[in-house]
Amino acid sequence: MRVMLFGIMKDIVAAGSLTVPEQLSDVGALRTWLLQEYPAMKNLRAVMIAVNKAYAADGQPLAPGDEIAIIPPLSGG
């Protein structure tokens, strides 16, 4: 599965997107995997995950073809 990265997450991963294992079945599993692979994420104020352009709770299942984005702390406006 491909995951889009923004802001400081691009710096942490040193890339604009990321391919994650297909077996990550929900948002919570993705979050746990990311924190293991990129411990620098633990220093962020908060990280949200968006699925198909909407904020998703950890329990939300991930399906092939979903548009997944990692949303580090916002600073628009």
Binding site: I8, N43, I71, L74, G76, G77
Partner: protein, 138 residues
Amino acid sequence: MEHWISIADSITVQEAIDFVQSPASGGIVTFTGTVRNQTQQKSVHKLFFECYEPMAVLELEKIAKAAGEKWPVQRMALLHVKGEKLPGEVVVVIAVAAAHRAAAFEACQFAIDTLKETVPIWKKEFFDDGEVWVAAHP
């Protein structure tokens, strides 16, 4: 309630007011955010706004819809820039027209407060001695 949402390289207050103004409205409230030249005593040279644009548009739509349900507003414009900006340049504009001014003030403040909490846009500040993604760390 009519609304206009735009994420663009450059935005103006006037275009937002031109959209919301109508002879039926009694008052227009706008909020305009500009690039400050200082953050915590450090001089800011420029900013860069990154935007997850399709989702940002949807979140701005949600704000307009929620404001229209909470207050009797007639028209709203929600504009945000992307890309590089210099101190003094406009980065965000909210304009709200309503028959009564209290509703326009409340809806405008709600919109900018919510935008900062929910719209996927990130700001990087460039200083003499480096750069930082704003508010990323506690």
